[in-house]
Amino acid sequence: MEACLLEPNLYCVKGIAILDIDGNRILAKYYDKNVFPTPKEQRAYEKNLFNKTHRANAEIIMLDGLTCVYKSNVDLFFYVMGSSNENELILMNVLNCLYDSVSQILRKNVEKRAVMESLDIVMLAMDEICDGGIILDADSSSVVSRVALRNDDIPIGEQTVAQVFQSAKEQLKWSLLK
């Protein structure tokens, strides 16, 4: 392992990925042109990463010269990657921010179906967390405040029956869980 002082620049994050339970990409972004330039290499890396991480819930792994911190919930896996010399705790903060933002956006309902339903907002959140490898914001509440734009108070008349039913079900679920 090559030990060296870290170059003082803001480009900390090499990539962010959200995978599903089969290791397929839901969303992924790579910020360094030298790290997995083609979609094919990215896929191969994601497969490899998923195989190494989906069983052991160990939070951090070193793979192919990248430090990768991860977190999973139900059928989703969140990954944040940085260079092997990067400060792991910074990466961890980014991961936590990503996870918490998604969780708040989806109202703690962190699973694939919910992500797919609010994919637009999740994409915006990812964009607000990291811009071209620079951490834009690592505080989930401020990220959410910038993207949680969906107006929930659509007049009842404009909601479909299914939507009403769904929101009623969720409210009931949460009241029971409390």
């Binding site: 951090i60 793979l63 192919d64 705790l89 834009l136």
Partner: protein, 889 residues
């Protein structure tokens, strides 16, 4: 059936996933809805999301498709829907690199960026900067400056981050924003501080004085006045990195110790920071400073020790990883953490456990080796192969460090060999044992015994073949060669054809090296001639007929030291030979000799901390063969004969000058092709007709020059000069050439790279002198059995002997390294390693001179007030031997 399965799956997913099975053409088709006169956000948002999702999945769009979709997307600016607008920004960023004419949206984005809606402004800035180029940036400069000092932190951050991205394209423009960035550093918002600090450092990083001012000022604000900066862990981490770099840069001209430096004191003060992130960053910076004393790192290591007991895996990982790195430079300091590290061996995160073990093995004292090995033995069966490989590599390092412990380590390794495991794991153990054997003569016999036992029951063919090869090489040199024969012959009876063939070759080695075993070997080989496989029969027949002749020279050339040409080159030459003229016999000398591969060293340098390798490495053609292909495309190169050798890259200029020139010397039998790679670092000049004018030594003759027609800014062009070596006068084939770079300069516009005027003027640039050395003309050759070749050469080769006093050398190691480098020969029989504490050493070298002349060199070295060397050169050509003896001194 599969369709049914998919339906079923969708049901399981709960109502189907709207984004499954989307197709590019359909999505592009749907995107036409954007063009409708009134935009319906409820319809457009899902379609745009789908498009973005598809791009994210790695779907490639052609420039036309991208442009169409991009223009359709610009229509969506009519809508006031916030989400839709924000998605459009995302789309602009995604497509900006593929679509044409993206600048069309500049005015819309500028409007959003300066508008009232805060939710638009930050994102619009970032989108705008993704479509802006260097010339356009000046147009929006005013807005950017305003945005940097905006009161809204999101806007300010977005502007700062975008400026940093833009600094790659237009550094000059961004530099002008330094005052605004300075103001932003004092912002209340922690992220704005962080981004502003990053931008400020980037602008000023080439000016050390300005950077040190920046750090000093930031430290002061941080310590005395602004409490909020203290909260910004990111900014503090950044500050630590800048401070560490300053310490490093000052290192050269600082007389007092590091701890006097205010920056160092600042970093140390960060050990008491509230945030663990900062504490770790500070500790990491301190231990990675060059030439730290153990006193300086002591505090950092105790911090890491504390962190390594954290309940958070990421923190433990970070701490152990850093300790692992320090273990090389400050083993003693890390020893203090051994107890904590031992606790981590059982960590549930295997990355942490493995790092802990390797650190322990690195720092371990000789006395603790036994205990450590016992500890590893308890859990080695639980971990996966990948981690076992890392452990084995650590053991290898340990074995090299403590040669006396070889019995313990060897026993451990052989136990590991007997366990189940994949090929890669077994191969790494076998490699380690082989390294130990080669490095430590005492361990040889036990090591070979373990390997013999292993091949008795080895399921990996490639590994068995390798071990048999090793037995053939090393076995005959042991005290009792006969005991290995049984193991080898057992393979012939029991194994598959490729192993049987390898075993036959190994037996032949014994036959050739041990005359008293010859008779028995002949009997065994005779039996092998009845084998069912033709390769085995062929080898047996071949070896038994050679051994029958009882001729030392034959043994040497065909059994002990085998063919040394490069295989791809041999294949190429043979197929050419078949196609052309088969009347003349094929000349093996015309095939380039294979360069001794550096793979052995590479293995050692492989980062052992990297827990998982990145799959099989691609086998690329060797460097020489790459060059050979390139050179063959040159006019005239065909007539020079086969390519013999290429030298390392020689720099003929300083790396920071106007023109950077590097030279590679390609050697042929009678010619030298000099490849000059030139780089133009002046952005206001276009160079044409670039060539290197050489002032060659006496006897050399310039055959041809191939100039580089054009050399634009920041591109590398290549020009060649072909030189002929002095005819029949080998003694003069080393020399020094004066070199001048000649070219026509055309001044041009830095932005476009087009020349202002058609007429250029001649100019030249002095280069450093180019030396043609002996090493350029000699190819390294690995002689497996150097002694046998040397004895044979006694009668047939020319010999010259001379004695030198190398007064500038202080140790034998230094002398050995320099002789090898100077002569360009390959050390044989590991004679390049000088045993510790000896005052005499014999270095054995072998190589081939251009034109295919064998060279053997023996250098006897003695240490007494400098190094005295007796050099004996044996070569088939008298003048080459003279050249070598005369070249030293």
């Amino acid at each position: 059936m599969s369709g049914f399965k998919r339906d079923h799956k969708e049901e399981e997913d709960g109502g189907g996933n709207p984004f499954q099975n989307i197709e590019k053409t359909t999505v592009l088709q749907e995107a036409r809805i954007f063009n409708e006169t009134s935009v319906n956000p409820r319809k457009c948002t899902p379609i745009l999301t789908k498009l973005l999702y598809m791009l994210n999945q790695g779907e490639q769009l052609s420039a036309k498709e991208a442009t169409d979709v991009f223009f359709a997307m610009t229509k969506l600016f009519q809508s006031k829907d916030v989400i839709l607008r924000r998605l459009v920004y995302l789309g602009i960023k995604e497509l900006s690199s593929i679509a044409d004419d993206v600048i069309i949206v500049t005015s819309s984005l500028t409007k959003d960026m300066t508008g009232k809606e805060d939710l638009y402004r930050a994102a619009a800035i970032r989108a705008l900067c993704s479509i802006t180029d260097a010339t356009m940036l000046q147009a929006i400069e005013r807005y950017m400056k305003q945005a940097i000092v905006d009161r809204n932190p999101a806007v300010s951050s977005a502007a700062l981050v975008s400026s940093l991205h833009m600094a790659k394209l237009a550094p000059e423009v961004v530099k002008r924003w330094v005052n605004e960035a300075q103001e932003a550093v004092n912002s209340e918002n922690i992220m704005v501080q962080y981004h502003a600090l990053g931008l400020l450092y980037h602008i000023r990083k080439s000016d050390r004085l300005a950077v040190s001012k920046l750090v000093t000022r930031s430290i002061q604000t941080l310590m005395y006045t602004n409490v909020s900066l203290q909260k910004s862990s990111y900014a503090v981490c950044m500050l630590i990195r800048i401070a560490a770099k300053l310490i490093e840069e000052e290192g050269a001209d600082r007389k007092s110790s590091k701890s006097q430096s205010p920056y160092f004191q600042y970093i140390e003060s960060c050990f008491r920071h509230k945030s663990e992130m900062v504490v770790y960053e500070a500790a990491y910076a301190v231990v990675n400073l060059n030439n730290s004393t153990s006193q300086e790192v002591a505090q950092a290591i105790s911090v890491l020790q504390l962190l390594s007991a954290s309940p958070k895996p990421a923190l433990r990982f970070a701490a152990v990883r850093t300790l692992n790195q320090v273990a090389i430079s400050h083993p003693a300091a890390v020893t203090a953490c051994n107890l904590d590290l031992e606790n981590l061996i059982t960590d549930s995160n295997r990355s942490i456990a493995t790092l802990a073990i390797t650190t322990l093995l690195k720092t371990g004292a000789e006395s603790s080796v036994d205990r450590l090995m016992k500890q590893i033995a308890t859990f080695v069966s639980e971990i996966s192969d990948e981690f076992k490989v890392v452990v084995v590599q650590a053991i290898r390092a340990l074995a090299l460090k403590f040669p006396r412990k070889h019995t313990v380590l060897m026993n451990f390794l052989s136990a590991m060999l007997r366990d189940d495991g994949g090929l890669e794991y077994k191969a790494s153990i076998a490699d380690t044992i082989i390294t130990i054997i080669e490095d430590n003569p005492e361990a040889k016999e036990t090591g070979l015994a373990h390997l013999c036992e292993f091949i008795e029951d080895c399921e990996h063919v490639s590994l068995a073949v390798r071990i048999l090869h090793l037995l053939g090489k090393e076995g005959p040199k042991t005290k009792q060669p006969s005991r290995y024969i049984r193991f080898i012959y057992n393979r012939v009876i029991l194994e598959c054809p490729s192993i049987r063939a390898a075993a036959v070759s190994a037996m032949a080695q014994f036959g050739a090296s041990c005359p008293d075993l010859l008779e028995n070997i002949q009997v065994l080989l005779a039996r092998c001639q009845m084998d069912s496989d033709d390769e085995v029969r062929d080898r047996a027949t071949y070896y038994s007929s050679i051994l029958n002749r009882q001729d030392k020279a034959l043994y040497n050339n065909y059994v002990l030291n085998t063919l040394q040409v490069s295989m791809p080159a041999l294949e190429k030459s043979l197929s050419e030979y078949i196609n052309l003229n088969t009347a003349q016999p094929f000349d093996i000398k015309s095939v380039p000799v294979v360069a001794v591969s550096k793979s052995e060293n590479d293995v050692k340098q492989k980062p052992e901390g990297m827990l998982i390798s990145s799959g099989p490495t691609k086998i690329s053609p060797s460097r020489d063969e790459n060059f050979a292909d390139k050179l063959n495309s040159l006019p005239d190169a065909q007539s020079l004969g086969p390519h013999f050798k290429s030298s390392e890259i020689v720099e003929l200029t300083e790396s920071e000058t106007e023109y950077v020139v590097k030279c590679i010397k390609h050697c042929y039998a009678q010619h030298l092709v000099l490849q000059f790679d030139c780089l133009n670092t002046l952005n206001d000049q276009l160079l044409e007709n670039v060539r290197v004018q050489l002032d060659v030594s006496e006897g050399f003759e310039i055959i041809n020059e191939i100039p580089c027609p054009k050399l634009p800014y920041n591109e590398t062009g290549t020009t060649y000069v072909i030189v002929k070596f002095p005819d029949g006068d080998i003694l003069n084939s080393v020399g020094t050439f004066g070199a001048v770079l000649k070219f026509i300069v055309k001044d041009c516009d830095p932005a476009t790279g087009l020349p202002d005027i058609d007429e250029g003027y001649d100019d030249e640039y002095m280069l450093e002198e180019l030396e043609i050395t002996l090493a350029d003309q000699i190819q390294k050759v690995n002689k497996a059995n150097w002694g046998a070749a040397w004895e044979e050469a006694e009668s047939t080769f020319h010999e010259i002997e001379d004695t030198y006093s190398l007064s500038s050398m202080n140790t034998l190691e230094e002398a050995v390294v320099n002789i090898i480098k100077y002569l360009g020969l390959q050390p044989a029989e590991r004679s390049d390693k000088v045993p510790k504490g000896k005052s005499t050493h014999t270095l054995l070298l072998a190589g081939i001179f251009r034109g295919g002349v064998d060279i053997l060199v023996r250098a006897k070295l003695a240490l007494a007030d400098g190094v005295t060397m007796q050099l004996t050169v044996r070569s088939t050509d008298q003048s080459i031997a003279e050249l070598i003896t005369s070249a030293i001194g």
